[in-house]
Amino acid sequence: MGDIKFEKIGIEEKKVLLDILGYEVDEDGLILDKKTKKEHKCPITGEVVFIENASVLPGSTVVINTSELSLSEYFTKFVEKTFQ
């Protein structure tokens, strides 16, 4: 597994990506599961995720609230465990 290339994209581009990956964003900016219409919960923090603070990450698809701690835990739980 090579390095992941991290990029910042605009909100509209992020909405497009989430739509392709099976999510939608409500009028308040909350990310929802497209099928169930339920609020998506961050697998790291357990909290709902707003589009502005969302990181959309591979492994397979992980949508998390962004902070130093959550990103660190993302690598430990979803990247290093799977690929190293």
């Binding site: 994209i9 990181s55 130093e68 701690l69």
Partner: protein, 249 residues
Amino acid sequence: MTPPPGVPPELLDKPIDGLLKLIALGKLSKDALREAKDRIKELWETREYGFTPEPELASGLQKTGKSEAFRRMKDCIGDHSYLSLVKLGLRIAELSDEGRVETIANIKNDVLNKYGINGVRILNMGSTGALPEIIRYLSDLKIEHNYNQADMANYFDKIIEKWKEITIFHKSSEGKNALKLKILSYMNTPHELFFVFASGKAGDQAKKVIATLNNKDEIQKKGYRFYLFDRKEDMTGRVLFTWVFEKTS
């Protein structure tokens, strides 16, 4: 690859962020939109891209996760719940060098809320420069005694738990005599294990104090052995000295 009719040939050569931008603009034909979405799915499945408001931070953590120190620690303690904090601790060492006080404070708050004070101690090991030396010590210990990861995880837990009691961060303003008395007091307690950290002028003082104690056999008489690790500080060029004292009898 030949695109279907109605789809511009250059579309499928675009990078993933370029395709996302094109779709967001809403000007693609139905066929081109479908092709662009399929291409995005294809690129996404390579697992080579991640989108985050903090790309620099994510790249930094990815780099830290591939560092020798982190790999050694992972080998030592396995998938310990504190492994993410070890990575953050190593990252904090760099942030400290860069003077990123606010970022460090935010990280500490998050860690305190989720992991309590022991989590913050791991970060403090990072900000004081002690963490790489702790990792080195644990890694050497594992190899020397052929301990397993569960043993090492327990050992690391104990170090975190007793961190304040088993560390001496010597400053040159405190003087050599104060350090000598502290070391003797730690050996008299006695602590099974303790660490002395010092850098720059304080490091020179500590070297003299410990050499004197060693020459007078005071360390051995109290049933201890000690190791010295040193490493070059990245930004300041100062050498951080770390002594590990272990009770042997």
